[in-house]
Symmetry: C2
Subunit: 272 residues, 2 copies
Amino acid sequence: MANGRAGALVIIGGAEDHEGECVVLRKFLALAGEKEARIAVVAAAARDPHSTNQEYEQVFARLGVRELEFLALTDRMAAKSRAAAQRLLWASGVFLTGGDQLRMTSIMGGTLAHEALQEAHARGTVVAGTSAGASAIPAVMIVGGQGEEPPRRAIVSMAPGLGLVAGLVVDQHFAQRGRIGRLLAAVAQNPAVTGLGVDEDSAAVLYPGGELEAVGSGTVTIVDGRSITQATPSEAAISEPLSIHGVTLHVIAPGSKFKLAAAIRPGGRASS
Amino acid sequence: MANGRAGALVIIGGAEDHEGECVVLRKFLALAGEKEARIAVVAAAARDPHSTNQEYEQVFARLGVRELEFLALTDRMAAKSRAAAQRLLWASGVFLTGGDQLRMTSIMGGTLAHEALQEAHARGTVVAGTSAGASAIPAVMIVGGQGEEPPRRAIVSMAPGLGLVAGLVVDQHFAQRGRIGRLLAAVAQNPAVTGLGVDEDSAAVLYPGGELEAVGSGTVTIVDGRSITQATPSEAAISEPLSIHGVTLHVIAPGSKFKLAAAIRPGGRASS
């Protein structure tokens, strides 16, 4: 599945700027074709899709988008419709809004819209997600857990995601909500999976070749567990702090790039 | 990744017969080459790997296995060794024992042994797992949760698995521990993933072409969520019973076969 033709992924840590320079959203639009971009906003995660829509309609119009479609996807019937699938296949860029990532997967998972999203992405469509929309992008997603806590198994819960990239788990609002503990707890459970922590108003852009670029006002934190020498989530009681020795951590500043491990490529979607 | 050359997967619900006809273990050996089989037993999940080893050494010897290697893999150093990887690449059949699936993934995840297991399987090596070893086979695994309960989000916890098959979550000791509630709760979170419940002394054999065969003294239950019309795990409080409308359920009796959805193929491993 991993190939050079899948679209870039723009994984946004939530609270991206809508008022000023809009660096993060401009990056997404640049990748999706600038003035020629055909944007589909998917609000399946949103609790109030129509106010979410109004907000993105305004900011994308201000940024020069001429072709914009809005998919509320408030239930599985809507996500199973051919019309929804067609609009996703039409888009050059798909934007997954924030809200609740389990709401999104429980509505979209296994539907025509989900298949169309995977197919469009595999053929080159750029996919961006912010906050809950960012968490849902990989094969496995973090769905909840407490911030500002030491790593304990009990502070992170996971579920199958949309499967647009393999080998990755994403956490958002990363610095702002003190989520390093829960990201470490997730990676310790299976160090084959790399943790990506994205700050607010920031994005990790993943290119098909495996390059990651940080964009925005904050940073992207990479938790690579392959170097772990000892981690015992199974032996610790679920609520007890974990020992995790030898994690490799990278912080990527805005404008910097980083080469990801070979296992992590947009389009490596066989999962979910 | 999904191709016709990956090995079959033998997903065993735990407590397979070691004393009598050993129908389930014989099936694994038949697929791995009968008298020519080269078997590697991996005990990374086991709390007491050496008694686990003795048990499998005895039963496999009685069943005519002439070439048997044992990998205790008690820590990440062992799983990172070239010797472990070589024995996995040598095997025609790999057997993952029971124990604790998080112990296995936290030890093996992202190591040479994990890569060798994926590579061997992709090239045709048969992989069997029992109990915890069965749960760990897919890209996403169930790691815990209560049985004998109605579906509630709180009764199932998940984590990234070994990634030998995509689109599936496995639960074991299925009828014996009353686990339909937690399997439904898992599938409702993302109906793109099919739930597989395997009874004790029974196995679901997944062939590369997508056929599933039930073997042993119990049944295999398939929970296909793609037909779900309404499921709201995100809106329900985490401990409240869920509404899930329109699940498609299949029970496969021993000796029967069933064609799985196209998304589920051994070797569709891009995740983990």
